[in-house]
Amino acid sequence: MKITVNGEARDLPAPATVDGLLADLGLEPRKIAVERNLEIVPKSAFGSTELNDGDRLEIVQFVGGG
């Protein structure tokens, strides 16, 4: 299936969860937050949230700022 992560198109074998995607990307769930189709995905739901074709995800972190 095709999804968009941080504005970039990605191909992902189905089925996939947010947890699985983060592991693929090498990201520690503790340090980030995920939005799926404009809705927050709570950290507690990373494992149970299945991704669908066409999903748009934003994965963000804290960076330096004023």
Binding site: N6, A33, E35, L38, E58, V63, G64, G65, G66
Partner: protein, 257 residues
Amino acid sequence: MTDDTFEIAGRKFSSRLIIGTGKYKDYAENAAAAEASGAEIVTVAVRRVNLTDRDKPMLVDYVSPEKYTYLPNTAGCFTAEDAIRTLRLAREAGGWDLVKLEVLSDQKTLYPDMAETLRAAELLIKEGFQVMVYCTDDPVYARKLEEAGCCAIMPLGAPIGSGLGIQNPVNIRLIVEQAKVPVLVDAGVGTASDAAIAMELGCDGVLLNTAIAEAKDPIRMARAMKHAVIAGREAYLAGRMGRKKYADPSSPLAGLI
């Protein structure tokens, strides 16, 4: 002085200096400046994770959220919706609801859009956020933001990153006098005396970033800011002498030879 703490949204802090974490050479310098400043709260931004370069250093590995209270901001947001979306993500990333709201109006001045800021504040407070709000130095809007339930009012001293100092001390004083929640000057501080002036006007604290990050020696300037905020606070509490039109000798006139 040790018991001169201040409280934001029910949390007690002993340092009245909040510093930003932007514009530093690297996160290591940022961490050293934070340490030297004595700050207990640091502002942070929310941005996309870099998916191509995963070895990039992360802020949390240098400036620990266990040591500092992270205050996520909405820098770069120009609508209430953008700001709310950003802070919902920040709450999920950090796990707490104390946030800094700023809704800007244009790129050149980075001046806050107050109508949009007030609208965003109302929506965020309804969602349970504790909102410290960046605003103009307009006492009328400052009061509206406080009435909306903001937990701290943060008027600008001068435009963001300008280092021009406190341009309108009268308005800052008016805002301080009417407010029942903490007032912090946010933006415009260029050097230590600017921070001291803000505190002498009765502000509860100062939030700054560029003044430290763009100093030739950021660590030293961080230390200077720490002392300036303490000095300004002490001077405010001490109560300054009255201004006189003419000289008044400090040595006795009696017994002159």
